[in-house]
Symmetry: C2
Subunit: 334 residues, 2 copies
């Protein structure tokens, strides 16, 4: 028997049962297409707008099914845990959310995700659908990785969703949405650190293990190896190292305005995330970066992994306005 | 060296560094009194209102420091991890948030918390301060527990905060706020299950351990033993058992309207919480209980414990209205 330390039933049904729970909890705002694992805003995108969609592996919740809502994603189409959605799923989602102006998808840079979305895009275009693509590769940890040529896409993806979702509400065209997503990607960088592995529901063992006193520095959100396996050290020192690499990869200068995200990877108490944010805020102050918006919590996880990632987004007036725009997500904090 | 698998610095500073991070992230809405670990709404409660405050151990975040905001708590005064705030802290918080109408505190039923709050209340009353108290004991798991005479107070506490916070904004008197809190407590029940222990930052070892295939059925939020240590089973069966005990302890009948919370204890992926909510929603439907509001996520945790709790609140029109009232908390979901 598997998954003794998980709250699941048959591992085969983990994703559909999660999605069913999500729509049962949000009957007024979300709809579910069980055949394709599609979660979309109730009633679909209004046809005057260009819909923004995303599909990736499950196990990263709230990304992306819990980012579906007005001013965010119009639909998400998750694959199984840590597995890309199939070409059929991607195509079904494109067809469903297509309107007169077309549809734009966001894809994190993993080979499986890209391949299936590429094929779905081709198929849809042969049907006459106008499709735009935004590729996210914000992870500065490694240049190539287990499932990636080029950098991985991680939590910075959230900012593409938020900015593009807000722009779509304002009537942006497909081309404008793609340009907006590319602007976010050009200005966002992330890096993660973990103190534990995680265990997909269909596996008996964690995808990797760390001894007491070890950390994976630059971990991927599927447990991909990072830059190095190092000895742990105080949180402030870890954050300082991560901050230097993330900030150093952006053309940031004194006086720049930034958004800062300290994202939990799933198993880390929120108290520790705020402790880490404290140091990030101090480092921004020392560097002369003004934090305009901050995000502390779970945005893109790796199941129950004990870890965090830092994301910095360099802002301009347009991005600031889009980040501040109203939005709705199926997560209740009161 | 301790805490190798935690993002902390010196364990002695975990709470103040977390609180500093929290106020750095919320400079416009929160203030911090470092001497007493007090987090309060910026500028203090307006004197026309009766403030609602709470203090308990740390390690349960977002409870309660991340429940400070307009329409929620006016202040929280946490002790160290899993330790009650001192009498001095409680008294300082009462004094600081006191106004012409007095101040009301909420306390979960643990001996340490009650004793220190009782003493602080006596001291404040000797100073002429009018103090109201609401005791929460919603946990149906066990009658008495490690640190408790009578039932423990757990995640149901959230609903007392929300209802009393909203009532305070509407100008409720001290007596009305106490009555509201007592009404919530009379109508709310919870129970938790864990698949792992957790490790306070100042300890080398988890406070308890479970073998693969074991669960603590009825666990407390400080790792207190529950009803039994049992073999794990599918999530739907666990939820069915918990639901029967929680619902069975309330005078619920067909047609009743309820709020349902599936609360993560810290280390459980939110996907699993939605999978658990799915079954809870089905059980409510079968029982003829109408879910008016639902809450899926982390509200009251036990550090990184892998577990969940179910809370049911039996509603009336007044409670429904107060739960739906606007509120602000320092947690950003977009």
């Amino acid at each position: 028997m598997q998954n003794k330390q998980k709250f699941v039933n048959d591992p085969v049904n983990v994703v559909p049962e999660m999605l069913e729970g999500l729509v049962l909890a949000n009957p007024d705002t979300l709809e579910w297409v069980p055949e394709f694992n599609i979660i979309h805003v109730k009633g679909g995108a209004d046809s005057a707008r260009v819909a923004v969609i995303q599909g990736s592996g499950s196990g990263h919740e709230p990304a992306h099914v819990m980012a579906v809502g007005k001013g965010m994603l119009d639909a998400a189409v998750p694959g199984n845990v840590f597995a890309a959605p199939s070409m059929d799923q991607c195509l079904a989602c494109i067809r469903l959310m297509n309107g007169p102006g077309g549809v734009v998808y966001i894809v994190n840079n993993y080979q499986g995700d890209r391949m299936n979305w590429d094929m779905a895009q081709e198929m849809a275009e042969m049907e006459g659908v106008k499709v735009g693509r935004v590729l996210i590769d914000d992870d500065v940890s490694v240049q190539d990785s287990s499932y990636t040529t080029g950098r991985r896409g991680v939590a910075g993806n959230f900012f593409a969703i938020k900015a593009m979702g807000a722009a779509s509400q304002r009537g942006a065209s497909l081309e404008e949405l793609v340009a907006m997503g590319e602007k976010v990607n050009a200005n966002v960088r992330s890096m993660g650190v973990s103190l534990s592995g995680c265990r997909p529901p269909a596996k008996d063992e964690p995808i990797f293990t760390l001894a007491d006193g070890e950390m994976e520095f630059g971990v991927g959100i599927h447990g991909e190896p990072g830059r190095a396996r190092l000895a742990t050290k105080p949180a402030d020192e870890i954050m300082a190292d991560v901050f230097a690499l993330v900030a150093g990869d952006l053309p940031l200068k004194q006086g720049d305005r930034v958004a800062v995200m300290v994202n939990g990877l799933g198993g880390t108490p929120i108290g520790e995330l705020y402790l880490l944010y404290r140091k990030a805020a101090m480092l921004c102050a020392e560097s002369g970066f003004e934090i305009v918006r901050n995000y502390v919590g779970e945005y893109c996880t790796a199941l129950e992994m004990n870890g965090f990632s830092l994301t910095l987004l360099r802002l301009d007036a347009e991005l600031e306005e889009l980040l501040a725009a109203p939005a709705e997500v199926p997560i209740r904090v009161f």
